[in-house]
């Protein structure tokens, strides 16, 4: 089996288990107020960490490059209350244009 297929199969199986773990283990669980406060923070915390790593790093290094321009453009679009798809297209276009020019 090639390296690609090893990755596809092993990563696929592990991911299926990770995704099923919470919902299977918890059954029809009703969270307490304290648990709700924690759960409410999971999304903003995970999303902001993902964005930071995707935009400001490359491998194990910090890297400030054209992606930051794309994120800045997305911020402007969000401040102007643009819908999600417009935000994405603006970020993509700003990154591509900056790369072409610099």
């Amino acid at each position: 089996m090639s390296a690609v297929w090893w990755v596809v199969v092993v990563l696929g199986v592990i991911t299926v288990v990770i995704k099923a773990a919470g919902p299977v283990a918890l059954g029809n669980w009703t969270p307490s107020d304290k648990a709700k406060r924690v759960l409410a923070l999971v999304s903003p915390v995970v999303l902001s960490a993902l964005i930071a790593v995707q935009v400001f790093t490359s491998g194990q290094h910090f890297q400030l490059d054209e992606r930051a321009a794309g994120l800045g453009a997305a911020l402007v679009a969000l401040l102007l209350k643009a819908p999600l798809l417009v935000v994405v297209l603006v970020a993509v276009a700003a990154t591509a244009v900056t790369r072409a020019l610099v």
Binding site: V7, T15, S43, V55
Partner: protein
């Protein structure tokens, strides 16, 4: 009247799902294009999109392979990047009904965008939105992957700025969630934790550790 209400609720869901699905389609195309550079064919790319079904982990592990890393480091990167589905599955768990195998199956449709989209202010999820958006994104994700592998084989993801598709989706979803000082502090803390860990830990670890910042919620 009941009919009209039903239709409008469905229309609202469709309006919420459509932009996320379109963005996921673009993201799928960029994964397909990246996958070809890592030696994926159409079958392996599609199987990965259907099972791993997580853009960051798929792009991350393909990037490790493309950079000449071995299967083991690619798997490790992917697993670590998907570890966030553990706490995410816990919050989504409140929306799933039925016996364990049905819940396990529903949980496979979990994805960052649809999970964030269906979030309700109390930390729970709109069950119908979570599943319908999940199923829609699953289909367009596979379609995007196939088109990316076949039609965008020699296209540079970076030249077209397609590597910014997913951070921009995440940013737009995050933007609507920064609704309290506590949320904003937690988000900024998570950014700091993740960035501090990047030089010292393998891919995925910074995000997994940063997700623990949600424990700030234990303090009233």
């Amino acid at each position: 009247m009941a009919d009209a209400n039903y239709t409008s609720a469905r229309t609202i869901r469709l309006q919420a799902i459509a932009p996320v699905a379109t963005a996921a389609f673009l993201f799928g195309i960029s994964f397909g294009a990246v996958a070809t550079t890592a030696g994926f064919g159409i079958e392996s790319a599609l199987v990965m999109s259907a099972t791993t079904f997580g853009g960051a982990a798929q792009v991350g592990s393909a990037a490790v392979l493309a950079a000449g890393g071995g299967a083991l480091s690619a798997i490790l990167a992917g697993v670590l990047l998907n570890l966030r589905y553990l706490p995410m599955g816990v919050t989504a768990s409140t929306a799933y009904r039925g016996p364990w195998y049905s819940r396990a199956a529903q949980a496979q449709l979990l994805g960052d965008e649809t999970w964030a989209l269906s979030r309700t202010p109390d930390g729970g999820h709109d069950a119908r939105l979570l599943l319908q958006a999940g199923a829609t994104v699953f289909v367009v994700w596979l379609a995007g992957t196939a088109i990316g592998v076949v039609a965008f084989k020699d296209v540079s993801v970076e030249a077209w700025g397609l590597d910014m598709v997913s951070p921009a989706i995440f940013f737009a979803l995050l933007w609507n969630q920064l609704d309290s000082p506590r949320t904003r502090v937690a988000a900024l803390t998570a950014v700091a934790v993740a960035l501090v860990l990047v030089p010292f830990t393998p891919a995925g670890v910074p995000i997994a550790v940063a997700s623990l910042v949600c424990l700030m919620g234990l303090v009233k």
